[in-house]
């Protein structure tokens, strides 16, 4: 899949995610839009796992530490064929398997996440096991920038370097916002690149909406023995003008009118992309 094909797919995925959140009446809109391009690249280019190999012990694994942005993940995984798109119409419904955070009852979900600061420690275990069994698998997690205030991340950051887990990749959805406001105002965590480097990681800052850049950063192996930290600079609410960088869209749910506006805006962007491709 070319970069422009991925970009076109992202339009449809954003639309699907917004419809899902609108219909469910709940969801994490802004963060979903900020990490969607990352998930799109992961699932359609990077991860060596498919719906058919979702139980293969040698598969690559992805654990979404920022579990609240599950709607973006649902949209990407449904598109990839892990479950029928119709399943997304049941998200949050009484007795549905499709919960507001990832759970293993959904095919292809590796772990139940949603409490922050859990994904990276879990991925250490997955990465160590992959190394013990010489599966060659890579282990990926997605962190939020607000999430980095959780101390467990730093316990795991230390241990990942100690164990030289160069099969481990942590991607930061660096959208600089969290539920209360700007992360720098809530609990400043910069300089992030320096911190992760100081913890012994290979750090790659990248535009988190640039397919070529994301692909390159995720593909090139890190120096031997170094875990890889992708500092993906993103825009919260990316792709919908009135949602971009607006705090209330952290878990704002679009009204009927807002949904229509957003879908139309995305459709127009998609049309432009198609025309440019043709």
């Amino acid at each position: 899949m070319t970069d422009s094909e991925l970009a076109l797919k992202a339009v449809a995925l954003r639309q699907r995610m917004l419809r899902l959140i609108h219909d469910a009446g709940a969801g994490h809109t802004g963060g979903g839009l900020s990490c969607l391009d990352i998930l799109n690249v992961l699932y359609n280019r990077i991860l060596r796992v498919t719906p058919e190999t979702a139980d293969d012990p040698r598969r690559d694994r992805y654990v979404q530490s920022k579990g609240h942005c599950v709607e973006a993940l649902y949209a990407v995984m449904a598109d990839r064929g892990y479950f029928p798109d119709a399943a997304l119409d049941t998200v949050g419904h009484y007795q549905s398997y499709y919960v507001g955070h990832p759970t293993r009852k959904v095919r292809g979900m590796e772990m139940n996440t949603g409490a922050l600061g859990h994904g990276l420690p879990i991925c250490l275990g997955l990465a160590l096991a992959a190394r013990m069994d010489a599966t060659g698998a890579r282990i990926f997690t997605l962190l939020g920038d607000g999430e980095l205030a959780e101390g467990s991340n730093w316990e795991a950051a230390m241990a990942a370097a100690h164990y030289q887990l160069d099969n481990l990749v942590a991607i930061l959805d660096h959208n600089t916002l969290q539920i209360t406001g700007r992360t720098r105002d809530v609990m400043s965590n910069e300089p992030l690149a320096d911190k992760w480097r100081a913890f012994g990681w290979e750090v790659r800052p990248v535009d988190g909406h640039d397919y070529a850049a994301l692909t390159a950063a995720l593909t090139a192996p890190p120096p031997a023995g170094k875990p890889l930290f992708i500092l993906a600079n993103t825009v919260k609410g990316k792709g919908v003008s009135f949602m971009e960088n607006v705090g209330k869209w952290h878990h704002g749910v679009p009204s009927d009118a807002e949904l229509a506006t957003a879908l139309a805006e995305l459709a127009a962007a998609g049309k432009k992309l198609s025309e440019a491709q043709a």
Binding site: P121, A129, M132, S152
Partner: protein, 326 residues
Amino acid sequence: MFTPAAQAMIGQLGLKKGRANLEEFADTLLALATADRNIIAVTSDSRGSGKLAPYGKALPQQIIEVGIAEQNLVGLTAGLAASGKKAFGVSPACFLTARSLEQIKNDVCYSNVPGVLVGISAGVSYGALGSTHHSLHDLAALRAIHNLTIIVPADNFETREAVRFAASATRPVYLRFGKSAMFDLHPAGTKFEAGRAIPLREGRDVAFLATGETVVHALLAAAHLTGQGISARVLSLPTVKPLDTAAVLAAGRECRAVVTVEEHMVHGGLGEAVASTLLEAGLHPKFKIAGLPDEDTVTGAQADIFRHYGISMEGLSATARELLGS
């Protein structure tokens, strides 16, 4: 540790002293792991206190040290378990079940991976080190989490069997071990089954339902009461969850009084589990939870603390007599 009268009773019952359950755990795990390279121990600067130094020497590829970082210990253990490893996360019970409670709840139990959590030096094993190092909350906290089998062995036999069970379990397990040398309580040929109580003594007046390192004291009290014409039953309940409700209900039906005994606060542990089981079945024998009261725990060694709160042959005998009005 024991009064002269209790020591005399130990002699009378012919109880042989084994070793600390922690040591039995470590040797059992080493034996299992030697035969199965998928068994991995995870420690948080705790291999010494977990008696796992020989394990670490013998099987350096099957032990992972995380440093003093219990949250990482449990998350990492869950990740190993999700990858088909039989991972044993070993850390002092006080830290393991408080600081990393959320990792136990979500990463292990909710995600339903077959991780084993081993709380070492549990209860008041650390004695005079004080309440930072005591785990008197762990059974209460963990009982309230779905999808976790909780086992508190009383002696070396129960320990061995519990470790074997955990190594082959397909769901999360919590094991809880103390540091004191334990008396062997069970005759050869005793059957251990997770979720089942093990009868130690028959009796009809009072039943002691005990778990972990308190069981020996209940057994001594029962023998002591027999000498006073009181017939006392003793059940060892290594599995606190799921509770052996059949054994509990039989005790409540057949005995006039029930005394539960545990190295845990009286809230939320074995005693309240037994109480709700009895009440929901419409049974209401005279009832007492022997454990640590809801107060600042007295300073002392484990033996001092047990004696202070009546977890002793004399204390438990008195509790039973009081309930029976004799």
